[in-house]
Amino acid sequence: MQNKRYTRREFIRNLSLTTLAGLSLPLLSSCAKEEVEDFLQKHFHEMTEEEKKRVIAKLEQRYLQKYGRKFQISTKEALPDTLWGYGLELSRCIGCRRCVYACVKENNHSRHDPQLHWIRVLRLKRGNLINLENSEHYYDPDLVPEKGFIYLPVQCQQCQNPPCVKVCPVHATWQEPDGIIAVDYNWCVGCRYCIAACPYKGRVFNWTEPNIPKEEINPSVHYLGNRPRMKCAVEKCTFCIQRVRSGRYPACVEACPTGTRKFGNLLDPNSEIRYIIDRKRVFRLKEDLNTEPKFYYFFEA
């Protein structure tokens, strides 16, 4: 009697274990060689030149299949003696959001589900600048600028003391030598601690696989910048790393119709941004948090 019960128990036990194993198969998914490679991919900093080249080739292949375009993926390093700074003339911003959508196009954002914007334009009532609680993000009038309001675009400030870098548990985000805070999209585990830590809401999350229309894809990308991302990785403004490391203006600077945005090398005394800091009254957002952002706002009028 005892033995019979024992065998029945054992049978039930074995059955339940097998069921559990079977249920976990979807999690392991189709362990294709590609996915195993992806799984084992090293951190960008730990990759040798050879490995980087291989990863680039693999990505180019994938993007060609997915989007039908030949991509140029750069891994260009920071230029020597550069520290990028951004200037924004608040007296000129009219809140037209051309910068937001130029960024979306240049940097291959997901257009919907989720809709990712790296730049957020806030509308504030005149007389109020610091208390952002009274800002309006979803203004949609027929014409801008609206009377009695000013507009404050905010994006990742590429802080010199970045709180996001401090809190990332896996070193997926770090500060490059030229001041840009970069993210290795393949290393991010999606814990969203950095999003909680950022005082400027500069970082956004790919809540699912991004949706980029094929005809609007931008194929000149940088590995740490605007290459098409994947689901559940964090992303943010990179000062158009694919442009500035060749000395080109970021897309938002070129898109602004009122010349609000300025860019330059903080270490070059003849740069536009240094001219601004030397002669205009610049301030930075939330300076009391000691993050040392590199985004200088200023007013003319």
């Binding site: 609680e133 800002s135 699912t208």
Partner: protein
């Protein structure tokens, strides 16, 4: 080599016999385990959907990027830390009534930590990249990132709270005296470690200047105070259930002592809450917006207001129940008090803590958050898994403690006594 072979044989024998032990039980036991299993499977299926589509399947978004999962995680780490309220009386003060149940309390802590770790795992966007968080193999950002500290602290606590009870229980199973010189340092280590896990969890919220609601020095003390309310309350309820369904002897005195400790902890919790409210309301800076959202509603958004006031009422009621000896020593009222504390602290520390940190967000936006069905189902699944694991652990631990389950060399029926 022979000794090693012997240990291997004994371990396998022990393991096999525990499997038989957990597979046998009363009808109630089967009903309980199977219903928990059903909830777990439902939760798992929902999790698969989330794993496939991504976290868009939840109600979290860029503005409120942590939700029900992290709320539960915070609460459960606190519950786990509460085992220290059993360890200290037992091993430091040699308080006999609690000493009999301390091993069970440590197993409860282990289940609680396991649940907490699971909640973090389901919250991760890329669980397949979890190995990036491991030291040496991945690139753990230690010591800068508090999440890295938390990984080490929680896993260390889990290992401690499995190792210590298993060591003691297996020794008792083989009717061997445990080597106290060996095990006592680990036990004593688990005391500061318990405080440590919850302090680290508090610090991970605390160190964010971007979120003024969390960036308060009072956070870590409040976490500990509320943890020492909720955890022991769960323990009191669970142990009464255990007393009823098994034949372990559990004196009421143990429960009343724990309840007394809860009273002190709840007083501290309420005092710290009062301090926080004074600071926010009197200073009246713009940083009080999250507190205003929580207690009054902000610009018409007031989803959490009824919840937090309910939690406040529950906590205050429970405080009086635990403080007044007459109500504390009446089991029926004590149980009511425990339930009030468990739910009240869950609201206060879970959603009532995590969500206002995101409202308003750093750029002033207000987006309310309610967990959706998927998050609820996955959360229930993990709670059920924790309860199931704890049940199975108890199914083995209690017979060992009472002496019913013992090495085949000994006859069954020998009266149990724990060699202290």
């Amino acid at each position: 080599m022979e000794k090693f072979q012997e240990i291997l044989n004994d371990s396998w024998d022990f393991y096999r016999r525990t499997l038989i032990l957990v597979a046998k039980g009363s009808k109630l036991y089967y009903a309980w385990c199977l219903s928990l299993l059903a909830i777990i499977i439902v939760g798992f299926i929902f999790y698969l959907k989330q794993h496939e589509v991504g976290l868009i399947a939840t109600n979290m978004n860029d503005q409120v990027s942590w939700g029900l999962y992290i709320a539960n995680f915070t609460y459960l780490v606190g519950a786990a830390a509460a085992a220290v309220l059993l360890v200290v009386p037992s091993y430091v003060y040699q308080f006999k009534p609690i000493k009999e149940i301390v091993v069970l309390g440590e197993l409860f802590a282990a289940s609680s930590v396991m649940m907490a770790v699971l909640f973090v795992m389901v919250d991760l966007g890329r669980l397949d990249r979890f190995w990036h968080m491991l030291p040496f193999i991945g690139s753990m950002n230690f010591p800068q990132s508090l999440l890295a500290w938390d990984v080490i602290a929680l896993n260390g606590y889990l290992i401690l709270n499995i190792f210590i009870p298993v060591y003691l229980l297996v020794n008792f199973y083989y009717r061997k005296k445990p080597n106290w010189k060996f095990i006592l340092p680990f036990i004593l280590l688990s005391i500061p470690w318990a405080v440590g896990i919850h302090t680290v969890t508090a610090f991970l919220y605390n160190g964010l200047p971007a979120r003024p609601f969390w960036n308060a020095s009072i956070l870590a003390p409040r976490f500990l105070a509320s943890a020492f309310c909720s955890g022991p309350a769960i323990i009191i309820i669970i142990f009464q259930i255990i007393r009823k369904v098994s034949d372990i002897k559990l004196e009421n005195e143990a429960l009343f002592k724990i309840a007394e400790l809860i009273a002190y902890a709840m007083f501290l919790n309420l005092f710290l809450l009062g301090s926080e409210l004074y600071k926010e309301y009197y200073s009246h800076s713009i940083h009080m917006a999250p507190v205003e959202y929580l207690f009054e509603g902000l610009h018409g958004h007031n989803l959490l207001v009824p919840w937090i006031w309910a939690a406040m009422a529950m906590n205050v009621m429970a405080f009086f129940i635990f403080m007044i000896p007459q109500t504390r020593k009446r089991l029926s009222i004590l149980n009511l008090g425990c339930l009030l504390v468990i739910v009240g602290v869950w609201i206060e520390k879970g959603p009532g803590f995590v969500i206002p940190g995101f409202i308003p967000d750093p750029l002033g936006e207000i987006h309310e958050y309610i967990p959706n069905l998927l998050e609820l189902m996955v959360s229930f699944g993990i709670w059920a898994l924790g309860l199931l694991v704890f049940t199975l652990l108890m199914k083995v631990a209690i017979p060992i403690e009472t002496g019913k389950f013992t090495h085949t060399d000994y006859e069954k029926g020998v009266t149990a006594f724990r060699p202290h």
